[in-house]
């Protein structure tokens, strides 16, 4: 699918926080920074070419009244939740579009090419909402 069919949503402010589930096998020990962080491999488009899925934090809280930990439930191997802002994604020439799902009203997509430098930028700049155990 081409990114041409996706339009960046201006109603998603630059300060909007986007969530991305992270499995334990995609967490690295970054000894240079003394932290555990996601691998660059955790921030790629879907294998079928569609954009990278995320959740909009404000929509999650508004629509579900749940806790972030609830966002991880039902997904084996997922142990952490990473976040970055919509503004940061746009700095990386990405766009964000809302794409709510029946069971996930906060679902959104980050579209745009994700060469290695983009994936590494997400990996290095993301923040933990739920850090890995």
């Amino acid at each position: 699918m081409s990114d041409e069919q996706y339009t960046d949503d201006p109603t998603i402010s630059g300060d909007s926080i986007l969530w991305r589930r992270i499995i334990k096998e995609q967490i690295v020990e970054d000894q240079n920074r003394g932290i555990k962080r996601p691998s660059s491999a955790a921030f790629n488009n879907h294998p079928n070419g569609t954009p990278m899925s995320v959740a909009l934090e404000d929509v999650f809280y508004k629509e579900t009244s749940k806790n972030p930990s609830d966002y991880l439930k039902g997904h084996d191997n997922v142990v952490a939740l990473a976040s970055f802002t919509a503004g940061f994604a746009r700095e990386l020439k990405q766009g964000i579009t809302r794409s709510p799902l029946p069971n996930e009203p906060a679902h959104a997509e980050v579209f745009g090419e994700k060469p290695r430098r983009i994936r590494k930028a997400f990996a290095n700049k993301s923040q933990w909402v739920i850090p890995p155990p």
Binding site: E25, E29, N32, A41, N44, P47, M52, D76, R116
Partner: protein, 158 residues
């Protein structure tokens, strides 16, 4: 197969078997198993277990539609390591990719080194040395893995 690896992956090819299978894409670099100098890092003996763990990840293992890691790419990762590591090479992180491959990562000593297995005979090398400012991003083929050997040499302080 190196004696340091207790149990090879299913259908693991020895260095000689891989040469016979594909004479045009023999891994070069630090030489054959029989001809290499120096010992093996201790972690290499369990590297197959790390890769088998990735092979056991089910479809959709990342909750976002990830493809299962392919046996061919896992074997390629192990064969690559056998051909490039030295006794002092630290253990990489074995990271699955949603495309069904493996990414080897080292983040230590001011160096960020990532090697993605694109296919059994193609790799993508990403190297950043914060100590010197040197960066390198390059697709590597099995015909010449010396850039990988060089980057690992820098990593261990040659």
């Amino acid at each position: 197969m190196s004696p340091a690896i207790a149990e090879p992956l299913p259908e693991m090819l020895t260095d000689q078997e891989m040469v016979e299978k594909d004479r045009n894409t023999t891994l070069t670099g630090s030489g054959t198993l029989a001809g290499r100098a120096g010992g093996w890092p201790a972690w290499l003996g369990n590297a197959d277990e790390d890769l088998i763990r990735l092979l056991r990840l089910p479809h959709n293992w990342d909750s976002y539609g990830a493809i299962q890691v392919s046996k061919e790419n896992a074997i390629a990762a192990l064969n690559l390591l056998i051909n490039v590591v030295e006794e002092r090479t630290p253990k990489p992180a074995f990271i699955p990719t949603n495309q069904g491959s493996v990414q080897l990562e080292w983040h230590t000593g001011g160096i960020d080194l990532e090697i993605e297995i694109l296919s059994p005979h193609r790799f993508f090398l990403s190297f950043e040395n914060s100590n010197t400012g040197e960066t390198l991003e390059k697709e590597i083929t099995a015909m010449n893995i010396s850039p990988i050997v060089d980057c690992l040499g820098t990593l261990i302080g040659h």
